[in-house]
């Protein structure tokens, strides 16, 4: 984590170059379709430093906990118990069995965190996928079609880069209300432009290669060229972007839910739990710090993995 060649900031902060993010580690020399990194990527995971392995193990553990929440959670997350209100974590002398204590209604904090993890990770995953899809599609269109399509798409990208996106999300919520679907769509559109710029740059590079020219000469359709020649070449930088983008989407959702304008009760997300616990922070710090710890672990872990992946795959992202 100390040998990071170029810090990747949130997309609003990086130096703005549109054309330079093309280089994906010697794609130029690879034959069409051969640049898919997944087998080598898997090998690289084996050679990863211990810290990265721990991060990956932790993320896998969280993912399992989120998916199998009903089996993993020690208690029903909504079961209240007036006798066990605001009990500290069991290892600090609280009621036995409640590893992270209980909240103001006597609900088990650990179980609630696991269910909230499910909501937060689910929203962030869907958001990342939506952003990636929009970005890759517009990026390919922009790069392949050029002309006015390119200019208009790049104008929208510049527009989004120049406005703090949190504002757009807040206004969107004020207009459309706070439902999970709206929230997913809004966080999904938060960072599509980084994918669009990456894809476009890559398309512009790949388009100049002779094998693409040959494909065009043979009468391949735009769609075929994109699928066979462009997408395999951007697969690995996209994986890096996904890893780095995931924590920022998760943070966006948690921040909104924390402010009370994201996920609405009775659904709990990690940010929502932190927000609710704030009122009881003086007597029951674990209500705030337990979900906060989950958020920090996920974002730190994913960020470290993303930084490592970027160094390994050797992509320059803006």
């Amino acid at each position: 984590m100390n040998e990071i060649p170029k810090p990747v900031e949130s997309p609003h902060e990086g130096p703005r170059t549109v054309e330079t993010e093309a280089a994906s580690g010697g794609a130029a020399t690879l034959p069409p379709g051969a640049a898919v990194e997944s087998p080598t990527l898997f090998k690289r995971f084996r050679g990863a430093p211990l810290s990265i392995k721990i991060c990956i193990a932790l993320m896998v553990l969280m993912a399992i906990a989120a998916v199998f929440a009903p089996w993993v959670a020690p208690f029903d997350p909504n079961r209240t118990s007036m006798l066990e209100r605001n009990s500290p974590p069991s290892w600090l002398g609280g009621k036995p069995g409640h590893l992270l204590g209980t909240d103001q209604l006597g609900r088990d904090v650990m179980s609630r965190c696991i269910y909230a993890l499910r909501v937060s990770v689910g929203i962030a995953l869907l958001g990342v996928i939506i952003g990636c899809l929009i970005g890759v599609i517009t990026g390919v269109l922009s790069g392949l079609l050029g002309g006015w399509t390119d200019r208009i798409i790049m104008m929208i990208v510049d527009f989004q880069l120049s406005i703090p996106f949190l504002l757009i999300v807040l206004v969107g919520i004020a207009i459309f209300g706070t439902s999970i679907a709206v929230l997913i769509l809004l966080v999904g559109t938060a960072h599509w432009e980084i994918y669009a710029r990456l894809t476009r740059g890559q398309v512009l590079t790949v388009r100049e290669f002779q094998f693409v020219e040959a494909a065009v000469a043979l009468g391949a359709t735009t769609w075929r060229i994109a699928r066979r020649h462009i997408l395999p070449n951007i697969a690995s930088p996209i994986i890096v972007l996904l890893t780095l983008n995931f924590p920022s989407i998760l943070l966006l959702e948690s921040s909104l839910s924390f402010l009370g304008i994201g996920v609405q009760p009775p659904t709990a997300s990690l940010g929502r739990m932190v927000g609710e616990g704030r009122d009881y922070m003086m007597n029951a710090w674990w209500l705030v710090m337990s979900p906060a710890a989950f958020i920090v672990l996920i974002t730190l872990g994913m960020q470290l993995i993303g930084d490592w992946l970027r160094d390994v795959i050797d992509v320059r992202l803006t």
């Binding site: 609003h12 902060e13 510049d158 527009f159 504002l167 921040s255």
Partner: protein, 306 residues
Amino acid sequence: MLRFIGWRFGRVVLTVFAVLVAVFLAARLTGNPLDVMFPDGLPPDQEQRLLVQYGLDKPISEQFVNYLRDLARGNFGDSLREKRPVAEMYAEDIGATLKLAGCAFLVSILFGIPMGMVGALKRRTGIGRLVMSVAFLGYAVPHFIIALSLILIFGFYLHWLPSTGNETVWHYILPTITLAAHRFASIARHTRSSLLDVLSQDFMRTARAKGLEERVVIFKHALRNSLIPVVTILGLQITGLINGSIIIETVFAWPGIGRLFVGAVLKRDFPVLQFGVICFATIVVLVNFLVDVLYVVIDPRIRTEA
């Protein structure tokens, strides 16, 4: 150079115009803007009266012209809840926000650049790693968690510092640290990577070869050159400062425009939101414009390209 500035300013105008259009359309996206303004619903006769009063019965093109004319006259509408001009509400609160953002900005530069330098110059030692780890933490931990942790430790347990309001100097400390954390982390990381780039350049070897003192080499040759890219990052910090203010002011009950904005979202006070977005967007776009111009002024190499 003038051509570059003119061209760049054209884009500023275009972006601000796009924001105005977006805000206008956003209110009408759901069909009837009154639904957005009065989510609780209205009796039919009152609704008809308001439609006429706001000019919403006219064709959309005419509405848009009226909207632009109102904005040009400085008529930004009244808050639905407080029944007074939104501009007045923002004018009251912007002072607190600027003070906090200014403090955070200063702190982040004062800490960020030296930290980045240490990170680059001592990168193989423990101290360099430690410094960059702190920067990494500041960058990856969200604002509201830093804020709550600080409140918990310094406010509730140690009782050293107040955690809500902005009456005394002491009130500034926790919000400033929180708001500066992301900023200085990002500045430190950029300074470090930029300095590392410069350190590997040929003129560094030349400077050392001609027998200059190491201090001169670092501060005059390396640091100066490496700060050029950092200046652009400073400009882009404004986006982060605005995002941060929105959350931090709410946590610390800081009476600034960030809290005003979040309150307006919760109360669905659309005129307040509209003015906020236009304001924030204009500030961001203008600052970025100034940074781009400054960038050209301090780095002669870019002038020829522009």
